[in-house]
């Protein structure tokens, strides 16, 4: 058997030593040991005495007959995991089994995951705080395990022990080494950041692991947490292409899950005794790589095959999406500012206007490039994010509210920017300087993000599942599309002639534009309220007050004291913004009486029951989503059609990060919300509804079930 070879010799020596100890020390209390034909099992407590309210480690320790084995939590091709059922006094708590890293056990072409020789399964038990100190704490456990060599025997044992309690924690001197040795075998956090990807039938785990010596690594194996994710018997290949350590394996029989969890083991030869490393892989988001259709095509009929796009198509759609962004409510106030700027410079030379247009374009592109870089960095770190991710962080939302509020104050005339580069006091909108144009470009890009235009969805969604350069190219094209109309206006001389003449009306118009800015800031505070608690909302509003104070001081001009006070206020505002913490738990946006909150588990249950399901993926900061909800999803026609169709209505709220929702979006090649999908009870592929909904579109779809 291969498994015998896999054990460390140090461990083996230790096993022998322990076996001797176990034989020598009589049982501490009745029923702490069960011997079957193939396994000698003990229930061992780490502490000799426990303080009520504390947690104590309890171990089921198995000494397994030579050549036989028991199983890990995912037993592999066959077999069954060891299970423990605890009976404890009221209010006591017991945690899950902490599984040691398993071995790969091969037998006649099948592979199991389990343990040979011996294994310790530790669980943490919490003694209730109101337990009377001095009274023994009773623990009962019913353990069942399957033990196999060639044939398999289900075995079980009943254990009953009592743990002394008192005013101080006392060690159980006899078993300290055993606990230490078992803990040595637990997988630890990976020292290397990792990502996971699936392409067709191949799953890849990639680690950023600089400075390894490839020929010192061997026996790498990934054990997936659950059955059906990775094929246990298929060979896994380790490649080191500095600094990336890559393990490829074959996909299991189930549809591709949202994330990959399990344990990676490998051996590192450090000159002396080779040491076995075991790292926890915790919910590495599974990214579908090119061709995106491959992963989907093999999946159950639940998923529609995605259409792969050629690079020129992606870029064309991204550009088109950017153009459309100009019409979106988020960007509109910024464009109004730009229009004003154009009017005030109607008399400038053509070259000067074109220069302004180019600066604006530069600002847009820089902002998109920064956003894209942040996105790609986070993604390579394994974060489950999509487009709009920047608005999932309440601190970013608060800072954005600050910026819009400050721009509003500027337009309203509270202060003017005395830029050293222009030499004169002017508002941002009226600034002739290159810097002013650049800044408005940045602003337009930043506020544009929440409006995922319909054309963007197809192109960006696909682009974001691609390699870094492709995703970046698509993001930049989006920016180019956003900047193009204004750039065109500055470049065409005829425009100057049709524009109204500059005059006093401009000052009034400029002040009017302050109010859409304030409205945008108000909206961002509403978004913030969905993401964080009331304290955070208060902190943000207080921060805005401090900011207003600072800008007002600044506007009055004057001495060092005033400027120092203004700076202090701004620092205070920023500090308040930075204190904001995201609230725990899911966002509280779902209020529809018809819908229920989306979760993958609920979705799977409904699908298993054969019910049609309408999925709506939304977010508080997504304006398109909100418009659809008002126009189409709040109508009586929709409610009636929903009721008549018998479809379940699941609403997923992406206002905060949610890996399950990100996974579903990705399955439909979307980088962001909104997404509306109707799943039929039969084998028809699910229907993706348009991103701009009308009541009749949804009603027609529901009637087609």
């Amino acid at each position: 058997m291969v498994n015998a070879v896999n054990r460390l010799s140090a461990w083996r020596i230790f096993c022998g030593f322990m076996a001797a100890c176990v034989l020598a020390v009589p049982a501490a209390s009745a029923n702490d040991r069960v011997s079957t034909d193939n396994v000698t099992a003990r229930l061992v407590v780490e502490a000799g005495q426990v303080v009520p309210g504390d947690t104590v480690a309890v171990m089921l320790h198995q000494t397994i007959r030579e050549h036989w084995h028991t199983y890990w939590k995912n037993p592999g091709d066959s077999g069954q995991e060891t299970a423990i059922e605890w009976t404890l006094p009221d209010n006591a708590d017991v945690g899950p089994i902490q599984w040691m890293a398993p071995d790969r056990i091969e037998f006649a072409g099948l592979v199991n995951h389990g343990y040979s020789d011996q294994v310790g399964l530790i669980s943490d038990i919490t003694v209730p705080a109101d337990w009377p100190a001095g009274t023994d704490f009773p623990v009962q456990a019913e353990a069942t395990w399957l033990v196999c060599e060639k044939v398999c025997i289900p075995e079980s044992g009943r254990f009953e022990i009592s743990i002394p309690t008192g005013g101080e924690t006392l060690p159980n001197s006899g078993d300290a080494d055993l606990f230490a040795a078992v803990r040595q075998g637990l997988p630890v956090e990976s020292p290397w950041p990792y990502t996971a990807a699936v392409q067709g039938d191949v799953v890849t785990l990639a680690f950023q692991a600089p400075g390894l010596e490839a020929d010192r690594l061997s026996d790498a194996h990934f054990f997936a947490d659950a059955w059906g994710i990775v094929e246990p018997a298929a060979e896994q290949t380790l490649q080191y292409d500095a600094p990336v350590l890559r393990l490829t394996m074959r996909r299991g029989e189930l549809p591709v899950p949202a994330a990959l969890s399990g344990v990676l083991t490998l051996r590192e030869d450090t000159g002396g005794e080779p040491s076995r490393l075991a790292f926890v892989i915790d919910r590495a988001t599974l990214t579908a790589t090119t061709p995106a259709a491959t992963a989907m095509a093999v999946q159950a009929p639940a998923a529609a095959p995605a259409t792969p796009m050629a690079l020129p198509m992606i870029l064309a759609f991204a550009f088109l999406g950017g153009l459309l962004l100009n019409l979106m409510p988020c960007v509109f106030p910024v464009l109004a500012i730009k229009a004003l700027g154009l009017v005030s410079h109607a008399g400038d030379s053509r070259a000067a206007r074109l220069w302004g247009g180019l600066a604006y374009t530069g600002g847009v592109l820089c902002a998109f490039a920064l956003l894209g870089a942040a996105f790609l960095m986070l993604r390579s770190g394994g974060a489950a994010i999509g487009w709009g991710f920047q608005l999932q962080d309440p601190v970013v939302v608060a800072l954005l509210a600050y910026v819009l509020f400050a721009v509003g104050l500027n337009l309203a005339g509270v202060f003017e920017v005395a830029g050293s580069w222009t030499g004169m006091g002017q508002s941002i909108a009226g600034r002739s300087g290159t810097a002013g144009s650049f800044f408005t470009g940045v602003l337009a890009a930043v506020v544009a993000a929440p409006c995922t235009a319909p054309f963007m969805a197809a192109a960006l969604g696909f682009a974001f599942t691609q390699s870094g350069p492709v995703a970046m190219a698509a993001i930049l094209m989006l920016g180019a599309g956003l900047a193009a109309p204004y750039l065109l206006l500055t470049a065409v001389p005829a425009v100057a002639r049709i524009l109204p003449k500059p005059g006093a009306w401009m000052n009034t118009f400029k002040q009017v534009l302050a109010f859409p800015m304030f409205a945008s800031a108000a909206w961002l505070i509403w978004v913030l309220a969905q993401q964080a608690d009331p304290d955070a909302v208060f902190a943000a509003l207080l921060g805005m007050t401090a900011l207003a104070f600072a800008l007002w001081l600044y506007g009055k001009g004057g001495g060092v004291v005033r400027h120092a006070l203004a700076l202090a206020s701004i620092a205070g505002a920023l500090w308040l913004g930075a204190t904001i913490q995201p609230a725990d738990g899911p966002a509280a946006l779902v209020q529809s009486s018809e819908g229920e909150r989306f979760s993958q588990a609920r979705f799977d249950t409904l699908r298993a029951e054969g019910r049609p399901v309408l999925v709506n993926m939304t977010a508080a900061w997504c304006i398109t989503c909100k418009v659809n909800e008002r126009v189409a999803l709040a109508s009586d026609e929709f409610r009636n059609a929903l009721r008549n169709s018998g479809a379940a209505y699941l609403i997923g709220d992406w206002t905060r990060q949610d890996p399950e929702i990100t996974a579903l979006l990705r399955r439909y090649d979307r980088a962001g919300v909104p997404l509306y999908v109707l799943f039929y009870p039969d084998e028809r592929p699910p229907q993706v509804l348009p991103q701009l909904l009308t009541a009749s579109i949804v009603v027609d779809a529901l009637q087609g079930i």
Binding site: D77, S78, G79, Q80, F107, A108, G109, L110, N112, T144, L146, C148, K150, V151, C152, I153, P154, G200, D201, V202, W227, G228, E231, A233, A234, R250, E253, L254, P291, A292, A293, T294, A297, V298, A300, P301, P305, T307, P308, M309, A310, M313, A458, R607, A608, E609, G610, P681, D682, E683, V688, P690
Partner: protein, 212 residues
């Protein structure tokens, strides 16, 4: 929605054929059985010594059950009369039930025809036929890993289900009542013209005792 033009269609075609080629190449490693695809054909010998071919059952629903009478998990389901009931309700509705024994000579559960028939009679089983597969050919083709491991093929020869007998992986008879019998559910859904709600599940049990 996304406009479709020639270029995208071409893209889809290329990607789809690449996907198929890839899936086809990789499937060899763990059996050719894929839900939604034609079930791999096979020929073999029954316990009574007759030749048997899967093709002969075209037009009927076929259940394949991998079994090993000495395996505790098989004993759980036969001992509680669960497997027999599942077989009977299927066979009564015209379903063909084929029990397959892939234990190699000298391994647990290996039997000759006479013994296989005797065991079936003793435990009151109702298979349409028992297939002896001591070489493990049929088992390897389907990627059968455990006893029991269940497969359902529809009248058109398409594989509709592969996986466990039920939803609770244990050797305790008392769990049967609490578990969902995936085979019965799938057969009922197929009879009602509905898609199988859980087409692939974890098969649990002893490993199939192939020669090695």
């Amino acid at each position: 929605m996304r406009p479709v033009n020639r270029r995208t269609l071409l893209g889809v075609a290329i990607a789809a054929s690449a996907a198929l080629a890839f899936a086809g190449g990789a499937a060899q490693a763990a059996g050719d059985a894929k839900v939604g695809k034609p079930a791999p054909g096979f020929t073999g010998t029954t316990a009574t010594g007759k030749p048997i071919a899967l093709d002969a059952y075209r037009g009927k629903t076929v259940v394949l059950e991998w079994t090993n009478h000495e395996c505790p998990y098989v004993r759980k389901h036969y001992g509680a009369d669960n497997m027999q009931k599942t077989q009977k309700s299927a066979v009564d509705k015209g379903v063909v039930w084929l029990s397959v024994i892939s234990s190699a000579p000298g391994e647990e559960g290996h039997v000759d025809g006479a013994e296989a028939l005797k065991i079936a009679k003793e435990r009151g089983a109702h298979p349409t036929e028992i297939i002896l597969d001591p070489e493990g050919t049929i088992g390897q083709t389907y990627g059968a890993r455990t006893t029991p491991h269940m497969y359902i093929i529809d009248p058109d020869g398409v594989l509709k289900y592969m996986g466990g007998i039920d939803s609770i992986a244990s050797s305790r008879k008392s769990d049967i009542e609490k578990a969902t019998n995936y085979v019965t559910v799938a057969l009922n859904e197929m009879a009602a013209g509905k898609p199988v709600s859980n087409p692939v599940t974890r098969a649990y049990g002893c490993s199939v005792k192939y020669a090695w």
